[in-house]
């Protein structure tokens, strides 16, 4: 977490502990903290403060839109499960294929949107596994033309570190975010809803968040989210260049030292912090163990409830061969990453892949 985000939260566990829905002076102080956080968040996301709804996580934000808008649902096959599963649950969804970079196929999107009953379309801004950036302007152009009645939602959970969301906001009706993706705390997220967009609330009760999301506010979490988001926005331009250079250094080292490394998405089509590669002839479950043993923390795809790695649905959507997909390695860079970090990571990965390949009988 960002240090300033942690520091900003601490008072709300102590002297500022009051419930912001109360009416006494301490409650009013907590309420003011949320109001200020909402203004800060709205500014960075390019929406009006009244459009910002604080949630418990990005998944809740996604689910609120996908469960709360009537009519059919359309999404891309590379979406996060927080979008795919609620659409499967509805039973009326159309999942549209992607190109080899994981971006939604615009022709097939237009076909799917041609059904006049379509009520919601969801296309992620940045893919969480491979880092591919969607052309949201092109997506919006298709949806507005073919399905003007539909709510256009984007899961922008991965975006704030790499993309100025102010450029995305005017294109869509709803966006989802999660604080821990930009150095804020876990357990707090944001849904933005453009004025006039009607969504049935997922959680009803005390009527918080203008009756769009009930439940006592997570005051410290909301304050931490806002602090981290403002700092992320302030640092973005400088960090993009620095991190892209580190990412290039890392991926160049892997490609240069290991045979059979495939860069999953070309660098100019993905975010600076993503170093997703597929390594042929290696099983990432074994690779991750060796990396962990050498204190390099990496990921492969998403894990199921048991903790087991599942074959990636994103790579499947992109048409990556299943065997190659088993060698997927997802190294992620962020604001704390240094040059010595990436050099060490490259050395450890090269060494581990060598061990695994030698060990294969």
């Amino acid at each position: 977490m960002r240090e300033r985000a942690i520091a900003s939260m601490v008072p709300y566990f102590g002297e500022m502990y009051a419930n912001p829905s109360g009416s006494h002076r301490f409650a009013r102080a907590a309420r003011q903290a949320i109001d200020e956080a909402r203004d800060d968040v709205a500014d960075v996301l390019g929406v009006a403060p009244g459009s910002v709804i604080f949630t418990s996580c990005g998944t809740e934000a996604d689910n609120t839109v996908l469960a709360g808008v009537s009519g059919g649902a359309v999404c891309s096959a590379a979406e996060h499960h927080a979008v795919l599963h609620p659409i499967e649950h509805r039973g009326d969804g159309v999942v549209v294929g992607t190109d080899a970079f994981g971006r939604i196929d615009l022709d097939r999107l237009a076909d799917a949107c041609a059904d006049p009953s379509v009520g919601v379309v969801s296309v992620m801004t940045v893919n969480n596994e491979v880092g591919a950036i969607s052309d949201m302007a092109a997506v919006a152009a298709v949806v507005r033309e073919v399905a003007p009645q539909a709510v256009l939602h984007t899961d922008a959970v991965q975006a704030p570190c790499w993309v100025d969301v102010r450029d995305i906001a005017p294109l869509v009706d709803a966006m989802s975010f999660s604080a821990h993706k930009f150095g804020g705390p876990k357990g707090v997220g944001v849904l933005t809803l453009a004025p006039g967009v009607a969504v049935d609330p997922l959680i009803v009760g005390g009527g918080q968040e203008r009756e769009r999301r009930s439940g006592t506010h997570n005051v410290a979490g909301i304050v931490g989210l806002a602090t981290a988001l403002v700092e992320t926005d302030r640092d973005r331009d400088g960090e993009l260049q620095r991190i892209a250079a580190l990412r290039d250094r890392l991926v160049d080292a892997l490609v240069g030292s290991i045979d059979g490394v495939v860069e999953t998405v070309p660098r100019d089509h993905k975010v600076a912090g993503s170093a997703h590669v597929c390594i042929s002839g290696v099983e990432n479950e074994a690779l991750l163990f060796l990396l962990d043993e050498a204190d390099v923390c990496a990921s492969a795809a998403s894990a199921c409830a048991s903790g087991a790695m599942e074959p990636s649905h994103v790579l499947a959507a992109m048409g990556v061969d299943r065997e190659l997909a088993l060698g997927a390695l997802r190294l992620t860079l962020g604001h704390t990453t240094t040059e010595s970090d990436v050099d060490r990571a490259a050395d450890v990965v090269v060494d581990a892949v060598g061990r695994l390949r030698r060990g294969v009988s």
């Binding site: 199921c304 048991s306 061990r355 294969v360």
Partner: protein
């Protein structure tokens, strides 16, 4: 030693971990995700994985989850379905041990620099005076699992540890309770992990193969009744074959899936002089002559004489078993395991194939 401990989330593998640590080993726990569908402990057996992880945390060891679902489907579930469709009754737990625990996991352990794989099976690994490894029954006769791990050869035995094989189950539970392990009083698992107790075998197979009705006939071919699913009938079965009660005891003596015919007969008709066993894996060198034979997980051992060969397949020898006295027919697909005459050591084992001669009625004088 650096040991990879297979943790099922049960008490035996939990205590195995505690004992390995006591012996000074460097232990990492792993739970294999094998079955992705419904089970009695949740999707992917998630509550068992939780138990394994919590025990690993209690023991202070790392815990991993390996997804061997593809291997499990290919080597255990698909053959299980295919065999039933062909009228063969396999033992999926043994195939899981053969292909997943003591093959896939062993190879993964090698790759990651582990010296051995440990499990919570009740069996013992010993060593002869001339340095050969032996596989022996577990110390607790009632819990012995040497039958289900009989496929371990010298190479596999050299890289396998069974820490609880030399103690009684009650001792295992006592150790678990003493250390406050959360699995101390967890009941033993009894059934095939991918078949739910609510749905059972019928539902599992019914969802995957098209059951065929069959005639039930006697030795003379006279129809006595009918069954809905010939694939669900096993040799030796007495109940559920559509025959009225009260008559003489009748057993299934033959199942002909292609001909959709189940043949029943009296106990005499169920007796064979011997059987053929294929895909035999030997613990050490092949063994011929007088042995004891066990053909079910907790079945009796019976004296017989083995003759090896003359043919063999890529997956093992073919062995002829001649019973000392005629025995009830072994259903094709069952694992048949050979023990030494003292009933202590596993010599090897394989898979029963359909008897070549079916005796119907008492032998003619």
């Amino acid at each position: 030693m650096k040991v990879l401990l297979a943790m099922s989330g049960g008490v035996d593998s939990s205590v195995a971990g505690a004992l390995l640590l006591e012996e000074g080993h460097d232990v990492v726990g792993v739970t294999m995700k094998l079955w992705g569908g419904d089970s009695d402990t949740g999707c992917c057996s998630v509550s068992d994985v939780d138990d394994a992880r919590r025990v690993a945390q209690q023991l202070g060891i790392d815990h991993l989850v390996f997804n061997f679902g593809d291997d499990f489907d290919r080597h255990v579930v698909e053959p299980y379905v295919r065999d039933h469709a062909a009228g063969v009754t396999p033992n999926p737990c043994i195939e899981c041990n053969r292909h997943v625990k003591f093959d896939r996991l062993l190879r993964r352990a090698d790759q990651l620099g582990f010296d051995a794989v440990a499990t919570g099976h009740h069996a013992r690994i010993g060593r002869t005076a001339d340095g050969r490894l032996t596989l022996e029954r577990g110390a607790d006769a009632a819990k012995d699992q040497s039958y289900v791990v009989h496929m371990l050869d010298q190479d596999a035995l050299a890289r396998t540890l069974f820490p609880v094989g030399s103690i009684d189950k009650s001792e295992v539970r006592r150790i678990a309770a003493e250390r406050g392990l959360r699995t101390a009083s967890k009941p033993d698992s009894q059934d095939v992990c991918f078949i739910t107790s609510t749905g059972g075998r019928d539902t599992f197979l019914g969802d995957r193969i098209e059951f065929r009705p069959a005639r039930v006939v006697d030795a003379d071919g006279e129809q006595l009744g009918a069954v809905d699913a010939v694939e669900m009938v096993t040799i030796g079965q007495r109940r559920g074959i559509g025959l009225p009660g009260g008559g003489p005891k009748r057993y299934v003596v033959d199942v002909d899936v292609d001909g959709a015919t189940v043949t029943v007969g009296d106990e005499q008709a169920l007796l064979d002089d011997g059987l053929s066993v294929v895909d035999v894996v030997w613990t050490d060198a092949p063994v011929a002559g007088e042995v004891l034979v066990q053909a079910s997980a907790h079945g009796a051992t019976l004296p017989a004489t083995l003759t090896v060969g003359p043919t063999a397949s890529a997956t093992g020898d073919t062995v002829a078993v001649a019973w000392r006295t005629p025995q009830r027919r072994i259903a094709p697909g069952q694992s048949v395991v050979f023990y030494d005459p003292t009933d202590t050591r596993v010599l090897g084992g394989g898979i029963a194939v359909r008897a070549t001669t079916v005796r119907l009625g008492p032998p003619t004088a």
